[in-house]
Assembly symmetry: C2
Homo-oligomer: 500 residues x 2
């Protein structure tokens, strides 16, 4: 324990969310800033990396169940490969890190550190796909990417290097590619809702804001407590643009050459930033039990004469929980009083604290305290395992319910440009309003309040029940409605928000 | 299935091991060469990456059990950090890829793409370690590293970018650091022996060949069928050199400042190259069931009139195996005859093939064929699961026994420099011989036959039983023996071999 870690959080989430966030990340030991001279880079410490591993484990399971294979492509991309991508997608001009020297040798052609891997993966997909029997082809890689864009650093949210996964698939038909796009969006939504206890809103990006080269970009948007929206993950239907440019073609059942349809989809460690920001509070980190490295901490409370009994009781309780698969830590450190330990584990976001002192030993009980709201309950020692599991579920529900309430309260409507801007200025959150589909109307708002259209409703008319039950950007415009900004006929419902 | 994959292996392992290896890697779909102009880079395809995931899963479990936390440090290292490492370790002069431009901006200081992360991890360890209570500190990261050294590319064995894990730890005492070094060496040995079915020889590198800055470099060496030794993984006791240079100090129990002892240890995807080269044959890839993406392939053999029965029987067998946790694939493709399927799955290294035709259905049996040696046995349908598990164990044992025999037969002794050189020239393998400890005597041999001292015995006098049972470089020199090369008194036993 170093000295600066002994101090609690000094900033307040409500008044200085940026500083508060940075302090939580640092003091809960999730990440540190990179070396001097390396602005934009962070060091992901074990407690932060464990959260990323939870993302990986969940998604890898789901990817595996749905036919995705992991692979690994080179870190570097030759400059002319990136140039080729520029031809495909107007406006693609990534700010990348360039390697021009290897050892003592000047390279003949510069290599880009991958900013995303479409341009190096697509040519291999073209080689591997010959016949319809080779489709669908579904590849994913977990890797780091570098984009020389970030100016100020915000750990996980805004870094020059970040960890992510990028999935790339090829299909026989546009319907299959569309199904794939939505399967991944479902999995991202599930990650947020079932693992992170964060309801998200699914939708599409407006056409002018799709991924360069994509037909449709779908997104899950998460509302942060400061009223801004985070693009939580995206899944792109790329149509045939990449396949045509990179020759991803196949012989169909009649031996005719066809161009494939492709998709790509990804989630980055920005998801961890959204997780931390959503649930945490002025005491520090708050995590749902689904991802917490320790779900339960046991703090024994003893005097000299009760120490042996208390420790034995606590040790047995810890062993029983561990045997039942609970991630439990017994904090039996000497030289730290219980109050110090309470604060430390609150700061680090352990969802459930069990207090065991002489009273608990005498009465064959355990006192359980929920991290998010301090709910305290004594529970019989006999039913410890099942009660702890119920407490963990309850903590998850508490977090989810709070986030859901925030989301529900923060979707508002507006009847004029002034109202859009006023509502966003005053409350943040989403303003949904009829829109003509013209980017100029977004620009008019953006220039004044930095709010943009973060989502429009996604047409999922063929979707199954699971999807129907999900949070989604819903259309409210009707035939005859006018665009709230320009008054022309509305064709869409726009969700305006300030965005990370 | 692309056309070139339909062809089997054309090279012979015995006569052209290099070409044979490259062909197996390509045709078994483990890896492809990188884009034109990117010599030294490979694309790791799903079947290759699955092997790396098996390495990760096993080591992560063992690391976790022994107190190691995963973390992630930046991909880039500032030039002056690397310079600082040069001060610590004479002769450290890595050939690295340099980033000098980010976006449109020339960087003030060049950044190296990490060739290894000591120099960026150590300063953070120094910040995080304040007191003896912060020790031991054990960090590991899975990442890719780049070294601009490779000239010709040999997938997994020799690539400019490679995947690895690097562990970095700090301890209170040299004894603890030594214990740590051996714990990791044990785990690497276990990886090879229990997961890869490859006996390895554990030892130390001679002093002149330790990792720059290390006190002792320990190694597990694997003998390849072509008679060369592969350094399979290394674990370094770094003494206090890194800790002193990077200020990794701590207050001991009496509040006195002490310098820590550090270790580092790593295994790269070269391990996959050694795995492929050891077991595979002229039919293609051979894998132990422990790592094979599919452990069992079921090939149904039908005529029109028997198809329905055969497929139903095969489907039920597959379902039963899958429910028992066996990784099984039912190859029910139309338009491919059984012989084609046999060849394909042999090429891809599936350890056990189950053939199911009308005879098997009638007699309530299954025919099982072992990949490595063609052992064929019919087994009653009733006991399928337990018999398959026994077959898989038998395949593992067959592979292990063959590799062990090769190792045992290829440790020879020699009484003169000519005999060292002659034995290595004729047989390859290891020549063990008394040695004075002087690098010049190694050089004399190296210049003539490219053989070097790949290991010397490791002093593990305090080791436990597990370690005692392991393969190891054993001392054969006695007091009074003379160095076989120069005739001076011998102080060591050297293991000479040609090396990858």
């Amino acid at each position: 324990m170093s000295e600066d870690q002994e101090l609690g959080i000094t900033e307040r989430k409500e008044y200085s969310p940026g500083e508060w966030y940075a302090e939580v990340v640092e003091k809960a030991e999730l990440a540190s800033y990179g070396p001097e001279g390396m602005g934009g880079f962070i060091v992901t410490r074990p407690r932060g990396y464990a959260l990323w591993e939870a993302v990986q484990e969940n998604l890898d399971d789901w990817f595996d169940e749905t036919g995705v294979d992991n692979a690994y492509f080179p870190l570097f991309i030759p400059e002319d490969y990136l140039e080729r991508e520029k031809d495909v997608v107007e406006g693609f001009d990534p700010e990348v890190a360039w390697v021009a020297q290897g050892g003592r040798e000047e390279l003949e052609e510069r290599l880009a550190v991958r900013p995303t891997s479409e341009s190096i993966i697509a040519p291999y997909m073209a080689r591997w796909v010959r016949s319809h029997r080779d489709l669908p082809l579904r590849l994913n890689q977990w890797c780091s990417v570098v984009r020389w864009e970030a100016t100020d650093t915000k750990p996980f949210f805004r870094t020059k290097e970040f960890l992510w996964q990028e999935g790339h698939t090829a299909h026989e038909s546009t319907e299959e590619a569309w199904e794939e796009t939505l399967t991944r969006l479902d999995q991202y939504q599930r990650l947020y809702e079932e693992v992170f206890a964060m309801p998200v809103m699914r939708g599409a990006k407006p056409e002018h804001d799709t991924f360069p080269g994509a037909d449709t970009t779908t997104t899950v948007e998460a509302l942060m407590p400061d009223g801004k929206s985070v693009q939580g993950a995206t899944s792109h239907h790329l149509g045939q643009s990449f396949a045509a440019a990179f020759d991803i073609t196949f012989a169909d059942e009649d031996e005719r050459e066809q161009t494939a349809y492709t998709t790509s989809w990804g989630v980055s460690w920005r998801a961890l930033g959204a997780l931390v920001m959503t649930h945490s509070d002025d005491q520090g980190l708050v995590l749902p039990p689904t991802v917490a490295p320790e779900q339960v901490v046991i703090v024994p409370i003893w005097q000299d004469e009760t120490k042996a009994d208390v420790l034995q009781y606590a040790t047995e309780a810890a062993a029983e929980l561990e045997a039942a698969g609970v991630r439990v830590h017994l904090d039996d450190r000497e030289g730290r009083n219980p109050g110090f330990k309470f604060n430390e584990w609150e700061l680090k976001g352990v969802p459930l604290r069990l207090e065991i002192g002489p009273h608990e030993v005498d009465d064959a009980e355990v006192t359980a305290v929920h991290r998010p709201d301090g709910t305290e309950e004594t529970t019989p020692r006999e039913t410890l395992v099942e009660d702890v599991e119920a407490h963990l579920d309850a903590v998850f529900e508490t977090l989810y319910a709070a986030a859901e309430e925030t989301l529900a309260e923060n979707v508002r409507e507006a009847d004029s440009p002034e109202e859009i801007m006023g509502t966003i200025g005053q409350h943040g959150g989403y303003v949904r309003t009829p829109w003509c589909g013209d980017e100029a109307c977004e620009r008019a708002i953006k220039e004044k309040v930095h709010a943009e259209i973060v989502a429009v409703p996604l047409d999922e008319s063929d979707t199954d029940d699971h999807r129907d039950s999900a949070h989604r950007a819903e259309a409210i415009h009707e035939a005859g409605d006018a665009c709230t900004v320009c008054g022309e006929p509305a064709t869409e419902t726009a969700y305006f928000a300030r965005s990370y």
